[in-house]
Amino acid sequence: MKYIAFVEQRSGQIKKNGFEVVRASSNLAKETNSEVIAVIIGKNISSLASELGGFGANKVIVIDDARLENYSTTAFASIINQVVKKENGNILFLSATAMGRDLAPRLSVKLNAGLAVDCTSLKNENGKIIATRPVYAGKGLIEVSLTTSVQIFSLRPNVFNAGDSSNEQATIENFTPELNDEDFKVQVVAVETSSGKKDVAESSIIVSGGRGLRESGNFGLVEKLAEVLGAAVGASRAVVDAGWRPHEEQVGQTGKTVSPTLYIAVGISGAVQHLAGMSSSKCIVAINKDKEAPIFSIANYGITGDAFEILPALTSQLKIFFGKS
């Protein structure tokens, strides 16, 4: 079998999720005796190809073209489709990021391939891949298999471990796809990054605040703690709907579903729809005055007290802790 792994890069750097996809494909490939072909697309990105052998790619196909500096849904989908067909790829893996989620449905149609999105685990059963993915924002899990000969799996970022790079080297091949103007009919013309701000979907530590903070100005306490931890700031639906925080920070069923290593919930009672979005976090800390708050039922560690007193203490003591270690 041939596995194709699409590796996302932005601004000339491979995203962590790109390494995760290559490693996850490679782990399965060992069981099924398959070849892993990584694909990387962009402008002036050829030098990145050599990083992928160490994560398990056997071959890296590089598409380096000045027109591909910014993302284009139509052009990228066309290129990946051409690569899968040219290589007779059986399975395509990509990351369930904004880019991967955008590309996967188009590729599903182009390749007439079944698609399982946002998978959190993959296993091989007699050569067939069984994927587990959350539904209802994590309130349920389904195990799915695909009925088509070409199959696509997108993997939830931050769940599959990329591991350390080895000294293995992959064969590197340049590919010039056929692209016409029509392929660029949707085009990103600029990228605006929120400077210094971490995204909840990508961060391994999240500090989230809710109604218990009483007013938007008090989110400064959450931001300070997040800064010390190098964490992203998250928010409950209640405070997003109240306009205290931007919607991109919302964690939960109508926000983002996250699986960080550490999730600190401050003044969040834990409505069903919030818990759904974060209960798969590896370690959950809850700080809430209300002892009966549902958040404590899923928290590994809880402090049933006043956030206005606990947060400053936690922030300053963590500063000392990190200063020493």
């Binding site: 904004a98 899990l141 695909l146 990508e202 931007p246 560690y301 007290g305």
Partner: protein, 248 residues
């Protein structure tokens, strides 16, 4: 301008998931269903586009009779027409995309709006798949949209920022929270919606590409420790995070 908005009828966000006896879906007893929240944003954007360009907004849904409830809400918000593509068996996302694109080929809309994902299966497949099947431009997770003389400029959400995307109509636009604030149906809207017909078409569900083998509830987390009730618990918390959980 003809505008198509695709909507789904889904269990509400307060639903506690229980597995049905078939082992592959949720037990629907006692579950309240509602119009998918992201689709309300899609409807609102459809209505705003009609206000700007004139024309009509048609809401479409694939499902059973119960989906009429969400189509009725779409009409109450102000959509002009509603179409139910009625299926008797379960359909996966690619199947829904197939049925909607067949309708769109006949209806020929200039814009098709979708919500980012339906909050049951969270797949976000249908919008992109419809665009591909119809060979249309598409922009997903849109948080800002401007359309002038068929030129579309949108902001789409990416990790840690936004992309500014340009394309031309006709196009598929997939709405993310933040794009607008959906209006509440007015009393008059609700009354009018009762009189507007919902066109029903019985269609065959396309073959499934994805087979659900089983559904389960994620393993419950073992009860955690309450380590204190004030700031004096902080040193213990840091110690546990470092030594026991090993997360800092």
């Amino acid at each position: 301008m003809k505008i198509l908005v695709c909507v789904a009828h889904v269990p509400d966000t307060e639903t506690k998931v229980k597995i049905s006896s078939d082992g592959i879906s949720i037990d629907q007893s006692g579950v309240n269903f509602m119009l998918n929240p992201y689709d309300e944003i899609a409807i609102e954007e459809g209505l705003k586009s009609r206000e700007k360009f004139t024309g009509e907004v048609t809401a479409i849904s694939v499902g059973g009779d119960s989906s009429k409830e969400s189509l009725r809400k779409a009409l109450a918000m102000g959509c002009d027409k509603a179409v139910l593509l009625k299926i008797n068996s379960v359909c996966d996302s690619n199947g829904v995309a197939e049925l909607i694109s067949n309708f769109a080929k006949e209806y020929q809309p200039e814009i098709i709006f979708f919500g980012k994902q339906s909050i049951d299966y969270d797949s976000s497949i249908v919008g992109g798949a419809v665009a591909e099947k119809l060979n249309l431009a598409s922009i997903s997770v849109v948080v800002k949209l401007e359309i002038e003389n068929l030129e579309v400029t949108a902001q789409r959400e990416i990790e840690g920022g936004h992309e500014i995307v340009k394309t031309k109509l006709p196009a598929v636009i997939i709405a993310q929270k933040g794009l607008n604030t959906p209006r509440y149906p007015s009393l008059k809207g609700i009354m009018d919606a009762k009189r507007k017909p919902i066109e029903e078409r019985i269609v065959d569900a396309p073959a499934k590409l994805v087979e659900v083998n089983l559904m389960k509830i994620p393993p419950a987390k073992p009860a955690g420790k309450i380590i204190g009730s004030d700031a004096s618990a902080v040193p213990e918390l840091i110690k546990l995070l470092h030594e026991e959980a090993k997360v800092i």
